[in-house]
């Protein structure tokens, strides 16, 4: 009986309490804040990536169209499998900072994967919009090392799937001159200060390069920045623009032509 009574009393006491209390409002504000923080994380890790990466693809595709001058919806004819030796690749002069001068096309990352490459590795002006090309590393096609950087988490996360690369996968760098084909070879993990990966001969100081290397850098482990993950690819051949794109990425080029 006494328990019942005290319960009733408690209810009465509750009814007498003011409906809006400081603690109550504070609690509701904190819950609201928590929900908004979760919303921010959802936006940063998912929604914004969907938007950014779609914008980056569109930008890369438009640049490709412009370079091809095939913006009238003409079909792009892929280069034949058997073709004449294209000779030494054309090597352009390094562009100004943050200038969009190339696209990177990696079929392993998706059939429509093409992301703009800008000169430099500035966080605000380059990496927020796609892939960056380390200044003072070689230009696509050149003997030495073409080093690229991109986010693995957030900002469109162009290199999110970097560990999915398999030996023999093709990585294409598209410029106005054409398509440079590199073949993925290996991964390496270094500390954030491991600038040796940018050497003309990666990890060998003051060596005279003879190979044409493509190096991708991103953060590791995923979502953190304790280390860097490095992917190396080796030059295979190049496709001058007039001869058409390689058959493997003709779909990306077709989208560009139809776009």
């Amino acid at each position: 009986m006494t328990v019942e009574l005290s319960r009733v009393e408690r209810r009465r006491a509750e009814r007498r309490r003011p409906r809006v209390t400081v603690v109550g409002v504070l609690g509701e504000l904190l819950i609201t804040g928590g929900v908004l923080v979760m919303a921010f994380l959802g936006w940063q890790l998912w929604l914004n990536n969907v938007i950014s990466s779609s914008e980056q693809k569109t930008e890369a595709t438009q640049a490709s169209e412009q370079w091809s001058m095939s913006d009238k919806g003409e079909a792009v004819t892929p280069a034949p499998v058997e073709r004449a030796d294209p000779g030494a690749p054309q090597v352009d002069i390094a562009p100004g900072n943050a200038e969009h001068f190339a696209n990177v096309i990696i079929p392993r990352f998706g059939a429509d994967y093409t992301i703009p490459i800008r000169e430099g590795v500035g966080v605000k002006d380059v990496l927020a919009y796609g892939v960056g090309h380390y200044p003072d590393t070689q230009m696509p096609g050149d003997v030495g090392n073409v080093a690229l950087a991109a986010h693995r988490t957030g900002w469109g996360e162009p290199f999110r799937k970097i560990v999915d690369l398999q030996v023999g996968d093709n990585i294409y760098v598209e410029t106005e001159a054409g398509w440079y084909q590199y073949v993925y070879r290996s991964l390496e993990y270094v500390m954030p200060t491991g600038v040796g990966v940018l050497n003309p001969v990666p990890q060998v100081a003051d060596a005279v390069p003879t190979d044409r290397i493509l190096t991708l850098t991103s953060c590791n482990p995923i979502t953190t920045a304790a280390e860097r993950i490095i992917a190396y690819a080796v030059y295979e051949t190049w496709y001058p623009r007039a001869g058409g794109p390689p058959a493997e990425i003709a779909a990306v080029a077709q989208v560009a032509a139809a776009g």
Partner: protein, 53 residues
């Protein structure tokens, strides 16, 4: 706070629910459009580059 707002609104319950949903959607939209990008720029990005130091 929300309870008080619920009681103050002079609508039937179903309309109050709609008002609350619209308010929540407006707050979220404002966050996505203006607040989140600013916070994103303020927070240190996860560095993807190698550099001396």
């Amino acid at each position: 706070m929300y309870g008080a707002l619920w009681r103050v609104l002079p609508f039937p319950a179903w309309l109050k629910v709609i008002v609350f949903v619209v308010l929540a959607a407006a707050v979220l939209t404002a966050c996505v459009l203006w607040v989140f990008p600013v916070i994103n720029d303020l927070t240190a990005p996860i560095d993807a580059t190698v550099e001396g130091g």
